[in-house]
């Protein structure tokens, strides 16, 4: 299918997902206002809408209800009708507004923006020029997306066939269904996979920029760290196109950003953050420990901010619920595949313990490759510095990176493939998922979020029923505060 034929379908798919996301209360007109900036808020809305639709389509598949372009178009139209008709005066008559903080962008900010735009342009250029894709796309992720529907019905029967044994039928289906959604239930063509990758990559940049600002980073740091993200192997290594690693990083970053917003907001941000994080196990198996680690980070960041129990429940409840459903779906709906932990895993662990230093050296060799631009030593340095300086946010974020890497290392030691081959096959892609998290940790350390977990000032304007938040982190002292919509 040519790109020109795929484009209207992709635009339609994105509009449907965005409409559903906005209809369920996310986005710039949500309760928290455009807390992360309009682009990041629209990205969060898209993530929530796409996730809701993916899970809805899988549920329809279980019920035998066909997926058709008409069904998706109808859902999208209804969602946009709700969005357009809705009037949102705010919570309980109180309008939460976002003050306009006027800052004069300095030379460093502009330089950062130029480098970020250049890095994005370079990434898109390479994406268009590179021949795609890797073994995993043809044999696993892509083939599932292209074959999962027969005569409009979700039909996973092919996964049980002998010739698809290498397709890892037990892997989560979130991303194949996402591609199917974004092509409005038609068979996704080559262009759709590339365009979806570009779309999520651009959305991730917006979310990470907003995330760095949210953890107290200055505007220049946000632009610079976003540029480093785009130059990292998560983007630059085009083997990831058509695989699930970038989507996993995208949803993890969206969940984290919304979770960070929820630390200051009283709206439904915490619940929505939990939903986003609960979607991670629907994308990849390693999404399960990643979701657990990120929920823990958000819970720990929220400690001492009041109403800890309610916030913990709001984040962990949906995350646990959706993660549990993902495990149940894999257990009872998907055909069983080969398990990394099959055979005598205890014997393997005992036999490999003496080789652990060699495994660590091998992993270190991969992570210290110049392609990473020194990111991992920086994250390690961030962890040490944050602990020494008692900076909770960067310490927890960098700690989350290390925890997830430790989980990966554990799997390498326990799983049946020889550790060296296993590392060569997966370490780059596994680590690349953690780049946004590492970048946020560095941003938090560079920011002035040391006094409070988020380094922000809460301002109440008496008599007007409006609660304001003024960013102090990274803003020059000459910043002036204007209040709009009063």
């Amino acid at each position: 299918v040519s790109g020109s034929a795929d484009l209207p379908l992709l635009v339609g798919g994105v509009l449907v997902a965005l409409g559903v996301g906005l209809a369920i209360g996310a986005g710039p007109r949500g309760r928290e206002g455009a807390a992360a900036g309009p682009v990041a808020e629209l990205t969060l809305a898209f993530a929530l809408g796409a996730q809701a639709l993916v899970l809805g389509l899988l549920a329809l598949g279980l019920l035998g209800i066909p997926w058709t372009p008409g069904l998706l178009t109808g859902v999208g139209t209804a969602a946009w009708f709700i969005v357009i008709r809705r009037r949102r005066p705010g919570v309980g008559g109180v309008r939460t507004v976002r003050p306009v903080v006027e800052t004069r962008a300095g030379a460093l900010v502009w330089a950062g923006r130029i480098v970020l735009c250049g890095a994005l342009a370079l990434f898109l250029w390479k994406l268009a020029a590179a021949p795609l894709w890797s073994w995993d796309h043809y044999a696993m992720w892509g083939v599932k997306a292209r074959r999962m529907i027969t005569a409009g019905q979700l039909d996973l029967g092919f996964l049980a066939a002998r010739e698809f044994a290498g397709a890892r039928p037990d892997l989560p289906l979130g991303v194949p269904v996402l591609w199917r959604l974004l092509s409005l239930a038609t068979i996704p063509g080559l262009w759709t996979f590339e365009a979806t990758h570009a779309l999520l990559a651009c959305g991730l940049v917006a979310v990470v920029r907003a995330g760095v600002r949210r953890v107290g980073g200055a505007p220049a740091a946000a632009e610079t760290l976003a540029a480093l993200l785009v130059l990292s192997p998560l983007y630059w290594d085009t083997v990831g196109v058509g695989l699930a690693d970038l989507p996993l990083a995208f949803w993890a970053a969206c969940g984290l950003l919304l979770g960070l917003q929820s630390l200051e907001d009283t709206g439904g941000a915490a619940g929505r953050a939990g939903c986003l994080l609960g979607f991670l196990p629907w994308i990849k198996d390693e999404g399960l420990p990643l979701a657990a680690v990120l929920v823990l980070v958000l819970v720990l960041l929220g400690r001492g901010r009041g109403d800890t129990a309610r916030r913990t429940l709001s984040i962990a409840g949906p995350a646990l619920g959706l993660a549990g459903l993902a495990v149940a779906y894999g257990q009872w709906v998907l055909p069983s595949g080969y398990s990394f932990f099959g055979g005598d895993w205890r014997g393997r662990v005992v036999a490999r313990l003496p080789e652990l230093s060699g495994v660590l050296r091998h992993l270190g060799g991969i992570l210290l490759d110049p392609a990473w631009l020194g990111l991992w030593p920086l994250v390690l340095l961030t962890l040490v510095a944050a602990v020494a300086l008692r900076r909770r946010t960067p310490a927890l974020l960098a700690g989350a990176v290390c925890a997830q890497l430790a989980v990966y290392l554990g799997v390498i030691v326990v799983a049946f493939p020889p550790p060296g081959e296993h590392l060569d096959a997966s370490a780059v892609r596994f680590a690349s998922v953690l780049v946004p998290l590492g970048v946020l940790a560095i941003g938090a350390l560079l920011g002035s979020g040391g006094t409070s977990p988020l380094g922000r000032t809460r301002v109440t304007i008496p008599g007007r029923g409006c609660r304001e938040r003024r960013e102090t982190a990274g803003i020059e002292s000459t910043a002036s505060l204007q209040v709009s919509e009063l």
Partner: protein, 148 residues
Amino acid sequence: VRRDAAEGAPLPPPRRHDFARLATALLLILAAAVLLERSGRLLVRGTTLDAQDEARWLGWAWRRPDLADLFTRIDRRLAPGEPVVLLVPVNGWPDEFWVAVMARYHLAGHAVLEVRRGRLAGPAPPGTAVVRILSDGRIRIRRPGESR
């Protein structure tokens, strides 16, 4: 002294801002240098596939640039859902396993029952289309029971 209204802690000293600005500037220089170096390479070569996993995997996947076109042509000549047995030339084509993976990917609406080099060992199962790819890229499709 400016204070955080929520927690009452003093705001960070300006020295931290200086450090953050310096660190940001250094990271920005690094990013700009990498951007320039990669731009130069892309301009000179058209594309660069030397990232860690690219070097490892793309060689396996991208062996025939004409593959998507070829399977699109085959797909157009098959009946919807028709099972397929695929025969590829003995020389000039990668191994059968690779061809089978690619065929199962590109012929999404069909069951690819078998991929062989050269000839079939026995009669093709009834109801299947035997697709022969010739070394010059032409395609011949035969169905059991059809006259040649």
